[in-house]
C-alpha cells in the first residue's frame, strides 16, 4: 500500500495537493543534481514510473505517496554515474583470452563489429561497478586489426535481460600512435585508410562517388571490408557519433580538420592528453572531449605535454569535458579521479574542476556525449530514475554507495567479491571448512 508522505509538513498543503503514487521518495539528502551545480542540503528526489519527477529543495505544499521512503539522514544522494569509455560486459577476466570479447585481431571485420551483440549483463564486472554507483555506461570493443574499434553500445547495469539501451551508438577509431601501427606503420597510413573508408561510406550513402565494394587488405589481413564500409555510413552522415582516440596536439588539430571534408561528422575526442595545448581550437570546433583525467607522464611521444591540469584547462577554455574510464585501472575509479581534479583547484598553477563540474564530468556530461542528455547522469524531471545513496562524499577516495536504484528499481549490490568479503570476515574453520560458509 502507498504510504502518504509530506515532504514539507503542512496540513493545508496536504489538503491542497492530492497525493499521487510514487516509486520512491528520498528526503533529507545532500542532493547532487549532476548538471554541474553545487550540492543542495535538505534536498529530495521523487521517482515515479521509473523516472525522476522531482529533484531539488522541496517547497511547502509538495506531497507524495510512496512505497519506498528513504530518509537519507543527510547522506549524499546523486544520479547514477555514467562511465565512458568502458568495456563493461565484454570480458570476465581480461587476461583469460576465452572470456575476453574486447578485441578480435584475427577477425576480418573492424568497423562492422557491434559490441551490443555480446554484452553479458550478469558479468562480475557489471555487478562490481553497479555496486560502485555506475548505472549506465558506454561500452565498446577496442581496436586490434585496424584503426576501427567497432561500434559501441550504451548499456545499463541493472543486470536484467536487456542491458543494451542503444546499440551502435558510436564508432571509435584510433588515430594516434597505436592507430598508425595498426594501419600498417604510420599515422600517414592511418589517415589514408580513414579517408578511403569515409569516401567509400559516403558513396554507399548515396552522397557522392560510386561504391567500390572491394576490400582494403594487406597480405591476408583485411583492413576494411564492404561490411565495415557499410557500418561507416551512419558515421559520414552524422547519425552515429565518431569517437576519435588521439593524444598529441598535432593529431588533435588533424582530426579537427577532418570536419572540413566531412562536415557532418559528429566527433568526440577520446584521451586528448595534450588537449590543453589546443584547447581554443577544440572549443571553437564544438567537439566534446572524453579526457584522460590524471595522465601526467610522457608515457609515449604523443603525451609529452601530459599534465593533470589538462581537463581543467580545457574546461576553462570552454571545452565540454568528460572523464575517460578507459585509462583507469577500473572504471569505478572515476569518482576518485573526479575528486583529484577538485584537489587541483587548491594547487598553485594548476587547473582543476570545481566539485559540481567534476561530478558532472562523470555523470551528465558523458551521458550527454553518449546521446543520453537529460536522461542519464542527472536528476531532473524526465530523467531515468537512477539514484545513488552514498556512505560519504561521492568524490572522496573510498566512498561507495549504500543503495543504488536504476530506473526506479533498487538494485542488489552482491557479487563474487561481496561473497568473498562475507566469507572471510573471520578465518574460523573450527567447525567446518570455509566452503560451507556461504
Amino acid at each position: 500500500m502507498k504510504r502518504l508522505l509530506m515532504l514539507a509538513a503542512s496540513a493545508a498543503a496536504l489538503c491542497a495537493a492530492p497525493a499521487l503514487a510514487q516509486d520512491m521518495v528520498v528526503t533529507n539528502a545532500t542532493l547532487v543534481i549532476g548538471d554541474g551545480t553545487a550540492p543542495i542540503e535538505g534536498g529530495a528526489v521523487v521517482v515515479d514510473d521509473g523516472k525522476v519527477v522531482f529533484a531539488g529543495l522541496p517547497t511547502p505544499g509538495q506531497a507524495f505517496a510512496t512505497d519506498v521512503l528513504i530518509d537519507a539522514g543527510g547522506a549524499w544522494v546523486t544520479p547514477g554515474l555514467f562511465a565512458t569509455v568502458t568495456t563493461l560486459g565484454l570480458a570476465d577476466v581480461s587476461a583469460v583470452d576465452e572470456s575476453n570479447d574486447i578485441s578480435a585481431d584475427k577477425s576480418p571485420f573492424s568497423a562492422a563489429l557491434d559490441a551490443a551483440t555480446a554484452i553479458n549483463p550478469t558479468s562480475e564486472n557489471i555487478k562490481v561497478h553497479r555496486a560502485a554507483g555506475i548505472t549506465r555506461a558506454a561500452t565498446t570493443t577496442m581496436p586490434a586489426g585496424s584503426i576501427f574499434a567497432g561500434q559501441g553500445a550504451i548499456i545499463d547495469l541493472d543486470g536484467d535481460a536487456r542491458p543494451v539501451m542503444q546499440a551502435r551508438a558510436f564508432q571509435m577509431i584510433d588515430l594516434g600512435e597505436g592507430g598508425g601501427r595498426r594501419a600498417g606503420g604510420s599515422r600517414v597510413a592511418a589517415y589514408a585508410l580513414l579517408q578511403a573508408a569515409l569516401r567509400e561510406a559516403q558513396a554507399l550513402s548515396g552522397q557522392s562517388g560510386i561504391p567500390q565494394t572491394t576490400a582494403i587488405a594487406r597480405d591476408n589481413e583485411v583492413l576494411l571490408s564492404r561490411f565495415d564500409a557499410e557500418a561507416l555510413v551512419p558515421v559520414v552522415t552524422g547519425r552515429q557519433k565518431l569517437y576519435v582516440a588521439v593524444d598529441r596536439a598535432a593529431d588533435i588539430r588533424a582530426v579537427l580538420a577532418l570536419k572540413a571534408d566531412y562536415p557532418r561528422l559528429a566527433m568526440v575526442l577520446v584521451g586528448a592528453t595534450e588537449g590543453w595545448l589546443v584547447a581554443d581550437a577544440i572549443a571553437a570546433a564544438g567537439v566534446p572531449v572524453i579526457a584522460n583525467g590524471l595522465t601526467d607522464l610522457p608515457e609515449t611521444f604523443e603525451k609529452l605535454g601530459a599534465t593533470q591540469s589538462n581537463a581543467g584547462r580545457m574546461a576553462r577554455a570552454g571545452v565540454t569535458v568528460a572523464i575517460n574510464a578507459a585509462t583507469l585501472q577500473n572504471p569505478r575509479r572515476l569518482q576518485q579521479v573526479a575528486g583529484n581534479l577538485v584537489a587541483l583547484t587548491r594547487m598553485p598553477g594548476a587547473a582543476g574542476l570545481d566539485w559540481g563540474q567534476a561530478f558532472a564530468a562523470i555523470s551528465s556530461v558523458p551521458a550527454a556525449i553518449s546521446g543520453m542528455g537529460g536522461k542519464a547522469g542527472v536528476l531532473k524531471p524526465g530523467a531515468l530514475g537512477d539514484v545513488v545513496v552514498w556512505d560519504g562524499d561521492p568524490l572522496e577516495a573510498g566512498s561507495v554507495p549504500t543503495r543504488v536504484f536504476i530506473g526506479g528499481r533498487e538494485q542488489r549490490l552482491e557479487s563474487h567479491q561481496s561473497g568473498l568479503r562475507d566469507r572471510y570476515r573471520d578465518l574460523d574453520e573450527s567447525d567446518r571448512p570455509k566452503a560451507f560458509d556461504w
Binding site: 570476465d92 577476466v93 595545448l277 609529452l304 601530459a306 585501472q329 577500473n330 577538485v342 598553477g349 594548476a350
Partner: protein
C-alpha cells in the same frame, strides 16, 4: 661460513692495458698505475668483491637548513598522532617530534602547519620506475631479463634510467621519498632489487639509499609458467615453478658450502645473490597472488632456510592473514585491483583491513607509475572498506601502511619510515588530511633538504628528458 674462500689481488688497470693506445702510453710513461706496476708475474687477477664495495652509493644529503613545522596534525608512521604538533629537524635528521610546547631554536625556518598534516616520507615497496620509464618505448624496456626462468644474477639498478620523469611525479604528487625498484615477474627469480632515495640524480648511484639492504625478486604463479611454458621449457606449470626454484636453491646451498670449504667455489653472480638471501643479507620480495601458493612458498623457504620479507600483489592474502602473521611476513597489496588475470580474480577491497584484523603486516604498494602518485589515497580506500565492516583502523595506523611497514619490509626502518628523533628527516607536509582525494603534498623533504615545494615553481624537478619539450616545468 659463506665468505669467499680465495683472496685475490685486484687489478684496476686491466681495462686500460687492453687497448693498444694505452699500451703505448704505458711504454712511454713506465706504467699506468700503482696496481699494475706493483703486480708480480704470478699474481692472480680478481674482481673486487661485494664486501669491498661495488656500485656504491654516491648519494649525499643535499644542503639543508634547520626547520620546524608547527601547528600541524602529525602522523608519526608508527600509529601515533599528535594534534597541533611540532617536528623539528636539523642536519638531515629529526631532532624532536612533539606537541606545541616542543622547544625549537629561535633562528631556524618555521612553517606554520595549521590545518595541515605531516607524515613520514611515503615509501613505495614495489616500483619499476627507471626500469620501465616514460616514455615507455621498446628501447626503454629494461625491467625484465626474461631470457631464463631464474636470473638472480641481474641487478635492477643496472637498468635504472635516472631521467625517468616518473620519479619527480611520485615526489610531487605522492610525497614518495624512498622506493624499491624491482625486476619484473616473468622469472621465478628475477634478480636483485635496489632501494633508492627519490632524489633527482645524474646516475643511479646518486640515488641509491646508503645502507639499504638489497632485495631479490621472486614470482609465483601464472607469469613464469606462461612465459617459459610458452617457449616449450620449464616451468610450464605451478609444480614446475616449485621444482625449478627448489633445484636452484639446492645448487645455491652447495655453492655456499663450497665457498666455505677448502676447495672454494668459482665466483657466480647469481649464486652470490642467492647466498646473500640464505645469509639473511638480501631480502626476498615475492610476487604471489594466491593464498595457497603463498603457503607453499613459506614451506619452501623453511625447507631451504631463507625468509620471505614480503609477498607482493598478494590479492588473496586476506585468506591467510593468520599464517602471514605467524610467519612475520608482510603483504604488499593494492586497494582495488582485481580480475585482470585469473590469479587476481578473488581480489576484494577488504584485503588490507582483514590483514590488519589478524595483526599481520600490511603494506600498500603501487607497481604503477600512476598509483605511486596516490598511495595515500589507495590506503584510504582500503581503510574505508574495513570501516564498513566495523574494522576501525585509525588514520595514523593506515599511514603506517605506506611508511613504517614498507620500510620494515625493505630493511630500512631504523633509518626512515617514521618520525622519531635520530631518524632521517624524510617527511611530507600535506595541505590536508593525506587520506583524502582532496589533499596534496605541499612540501617534501628528503634527509632534511627541501626537494619539492608546491608553492614555488622553481622547486619542481624537471628531468633531462623533459627539458625543452611541451610542458617542461609545468605543474603536473
Amino acid at each position: 661460513m659463506f665468505s669467499h674462500a680465495r683472496s685475490r689481488v685486484r687489478l684496476g688497470a686491466l681495462a686500460v692495458l687492453s687497448s693498444a693506445v694505452a699500451l703505448g702510453a704505458c711504454a712511454t710513461t713506465g706504467g699506468s698505475g700503482d696496481t699494475a706496476s706493483t703486480r708480480s708475474a704470478d699474481t692472480a687477477f680478481a674482481a673486487r668483491t661485494e664486501s669491498e664495495g661495488v656500485f656504491p652509493s654516491t648519494y649525499k644529503p643535499y644542503p639543508n637548513i634547520a626547520t620546524a613545522l608547527t601547528g600541524a596534525t602529525i602522523y608519526d608512521g608508527r600509529g601515533g598522532t599528535i594534534e597541533n604538533g611540532t617536528v623539528f629537524f636539523s642536519g638531515a635528521k629529526i631532532v624532536a617530534v612533539g606537541g606545541p610546547d616542543t622547544p625549537i631554536p629561535a633562528d631556524i625556518a618555521v612553517f606554520d602547519g595549521t590545518g595541515k598534516f605531516v607524515t613520514p616520507g611515503i615509501i613505495d615497496i614495489h616500483s619499476h620506475l627507471g626500469d620501465y620509464p616514460s616514455p615507455g618505448v621498446d628501447a626503454h624496456s629494461d625491467g625484465n631479463e626474461a631470457t631464463a626462468p631464474t636470473t638472480p644474477e641481474v641487478w635492477a639498478e643496472h637498468s635504472v634510467w635516472p631521467q625517468d620523469p616518473g620519479f619527480s611525479r611520485a615526489l610531487a604528487n605522492g610525497g614518495i621519498t624512498s622506493l624499491q625498484i624491482l625486476p619484473g615477474s616473468a622469472n621465478l627469480m628475477g634478480g636483485r632489487s635496489v632501494t633508492l632515495k627519490n632524489v633527482p640524480a645524474r646516475t643511479v648511484q646518486g640515488m641509491k639509499f646508503p645502507g639499504a639492504p638489497y632485495g631479490m625478486k621472486m614470482a609465483c604463479g601464472e607469469n613464469p609458467k606462461r612465459v617459459y611454458g610458452g617457449r616449450g621449457r620449464a616451468p610450464s606449470t605451478r609444480m614446475g615453478n616449485f621444482a625449478v626454484n627448489r633445484e636452484t636453491w639446492l645448487a645455491a646451498i652447495d655453492y655456499a658450502n663450497d665457498q666455505a670449504s677448502e676447495k672454494g667455489a668459482k665466483r657466480d653472480l647469481g649464486k652470490e645473490t642467492l647466498v646473500g638471501v640464505l645469509k639473511g643479507d638480501i631480502l626476498i620480495h615475492n610476487h604471489c597472488y594466491r593464498a595457497d601458493e603463498m603457503a607453499l612458498v613459506l614451506d619452501m623457504a623453511k625447507e631451504m632456510g631463507y625468509k620471505v620479507s614480503a609477498f607482493h600483489h598478494a590479492v588473496e592474502a586476506y585468506k591467510i592473514g593468520d599464517l602471514l602473521k605467524q610467519n612475520d611476513v608482510c603483504a604488499a597489496v593494492w586497494a582495488d585491483w582485481y580480475g585482470f588475470k585469473m590469479e587476481s580474480y578473488d581480489g576484494i577491497l577488504e584485503n588490507a583491513a582483514f590483514l590488519q584484523r589478524e595483526g599481520a603486516c600490511v603494506v600498500i604498494h603501487s607497481d604503477d607509475q600512476d598509483d605511486i602518485q596516490r598511495l595515500n589515497q589507495e590506503a584510504a580506500k582500503a581503510q574505508k572498506a574495513g570501516l564498513r565492516l566495523g574494522i576501525n583502523i585509525p588514520d595514523a595506523a593506515v599511514i603506517g601502511w605506506i611508511t613504517y611497514n614498507p620500510a620494515k619490509a625493505m630493511g630500512i626502518e631504523v633509518m626512515t619510515g617514521s618520525l622519531e628523533p635520530g631518524k632521517l628527516a624524510d617527511l611530507v607536509l600535506w595541505n590536508g588530511n593525506p587520506l583524502s582525494a582532496y589533499s596534496r603534498p605541499e612540501k617534501v623533504w628528503i634527509d632534511g633538504a627541501l626537494m619539492y615545494d608546491a608553492l614555488n615553481p622553481k622547486m619542481r624537478p624537471v628531468s633531462d628528458f623533459e627539458l625543452g619539450q611541451p610542458g617542461a616545468g609545468d605543474v603536473k
